[in-house]
Amino acid sequence: MIVTHGLTKRYGKTLAVDALSFTVPPGVVTGFLGPNGSGKSTTMRMVLGLDRPDGGSALVNGCPYAELSWPLREVGALLDAKAFHPGRSARNHLRWLAQANDIPLARVDTVLDLVGLTAVADRRAGKFSLGMGQRLGIASALLGDPGVLLFDEPVNGLDPEGIRWVRHLLRDLAAEGRTVLVSSHLINEMALTADRLVVIGRGTLIAETTVDDFVASHRSDAVRVVTPTPQRFVAALSRAGARPSVHDDGAIVVSGLSSADIGELAAGQELTVHELTPLHASLEDVFMELTSSSVEYRSHAPDQAAAPDALPAR
């Protein structure tokens, strides 16, 4: 269990994390979601006691990290893809970690096997690819068989097979009753992995909920209509109390009426319909909409024309 309360971190004038309070319960995968620079890594570093908070607290199993008796046996963390010395072998890296917390050295072979690095365990870790580095980082996190796990962007640099493997691993770890917090800036990856979400933007909490509730509560249903007579259709829809908007490609996106209602309306008024499609906001759309005001680094691309399947701009 991880609990943060009013966690705050300031870098100069920038408020990186702003009074952040959330709970990560055991037994489920909690996705920690936010755009780049939103404070995810800083928060995780404060949970691990690497960065000192300017305010608030972060407790692991009810204890500040620095007061844990055997930190690696209670908390495993993957913060950086390459938090190991490139001149040291994977086995020696895990050996010193094990010795630091009196973890039986047999665990070194166990976790090396678990992440599939046994064959390269005695090669210098500096020769590893990004994906192999991630696997070594995951091995380090699992070394002490901890009940609490933090992973910062664990699928970075992994191939599709590796991504699937991490996804299953995270879910299995949670199913064993462990607390699993995994950060990502990719909502779709989180939708596949996480049960709960903690969404932050600019260091503040935007949502703390389950993935299902997150989607359901932000779903705005709209219907896309293609017709050879858009003007008449729009007029009819407006009279019926719907809110139609005409898109560049000539399609009408209607909110306020279900697709069934629109079909009935068209039949009643003898309007031709070429296409009638219910639109659902994708998780990504919801995430973009929620965090759009809190994106730190935005590229100034030419105005993105609304894609045909996008929601009408509000």
Binding site: G62, C63, G87, Q99, A100, T179
Partner: protein
């Protein structure tokens, strides 16, 4: 590979109870980890090799150059000091080793893993001081005695020689070995303060190589307190050949103070700054 054979655990909610708090990761575990780190890096082994080869090579050159001079040349000649000349190079290399032990961790992100394993930063630094201090003490003593024996062997070919039984010789040789460990700790302290390899090595080189030259241009009185001049003129000497050299006692106290200052500042920075 999709299922994980990790032992299932009950979630450790509030497990940090009285039982586990009495017994926890401490200096013993951290020192073992630091030792494994120390001996498992090629860069450390290379630096030790450079230290040894550099020391013995320079000692050979210095003693060989002292052979077959006219008798007047040997006025005030200190065969012990001459045979320990190579340790000046050794002190630079071993100081770099002290720097690398800590800056290598910051440069690669290993420091995060180190602090995750031992979040009490004072314990971590103490373990590093112990491992670096003790191992460089052994290396230093071995090198110092080897350098002395090598130097005397060369000098016996045509110059005055010394033996360990003569007054002050054993003291000079043994203390010179210990001084190598102090240079390593000075490097360790500077590395902890500065965190960047290049910057820390530059400062270390400034303190050891440049300080004597710069200070000499200001005042001979101040210059004799420079670490390398304490080492060469006070600690590694059996006769006070330079009238302005500080006494051995004052020299040792000064060097200990420099190390304490660097390590103390390092401890302060380690506690105050984010990792």
């Amino acid at each position: 590979m999709t299922t994980i054979p990790v032992r299932a655990v009950v979630p450790h909610i509030g497990s940090a109870g009285a039982e586990s708090r009495r017994w926890r990761a401490g200096l013993r575990q951290t020192m073992r980890a630091e030792w494994t780190k120390f001996v498992s890096l090629r860069s450390i082994r290379w630096t030790l090799l450079v230290t040894a080869v550099g020391t013995l090579l320079v000692t050979f050159l210095a003693t060989h150059g002292a052979l077959h001079h006219p008798p007047g040349w040997y006025q005030g000649f200190d065969p012990t000091n001459q045979s320990l000349s190579g340790l000046a190079i050794g002190s630079l290399a071993i100081g770099v080793l002290g720097v690398l032990v800590v800056t290598g961790e910051y440069g690669t992100g290993t420091m995060k893993a180190s602090l995750a394993a031992m979040p009490r930063r004072g314990v971590l630094l103490t373990a590093k001081i112990a491992v670096v201090g003790l191992s460089t003490l052994v290396v230093g003593e071995v090198l110092s005695f080897l350098s002395f024996l090598e130097g005397q062997a060369v000098l016996s070919g045509g110059a005055p020689t010394a033996t360990l039984g003569q007054p002050g010789v054993l003291r000079a040789v043994a203390l010179s070995g210990a001084f190598l460990a102090l240079f390593a700790l000075l490097g360790l302290g500077l590395g902890t303060v500065i965190r960047h390899t290049a910057g820390a090595i530059a400062v270390f080189a400034g303190v050891t190589l440049l300080a004597p030259i710069l200070l000499n241009s200001i005042s001979h009185f101040i210059a004799r307190f420079a670490p390398e001049l304490i080492f060469a003129n006070s600690v590694a000497a059996t006769v006070n050949q330079h009238n302005d050299a500080v006494s051995v006692t004052i020299g040792v106290v000064c060097m200990l103070a420099y190390c304490a200052a660097a390590l103390g500042l390092g401890a302060f920075v380690l506690h105050r700054r984010d990792a």
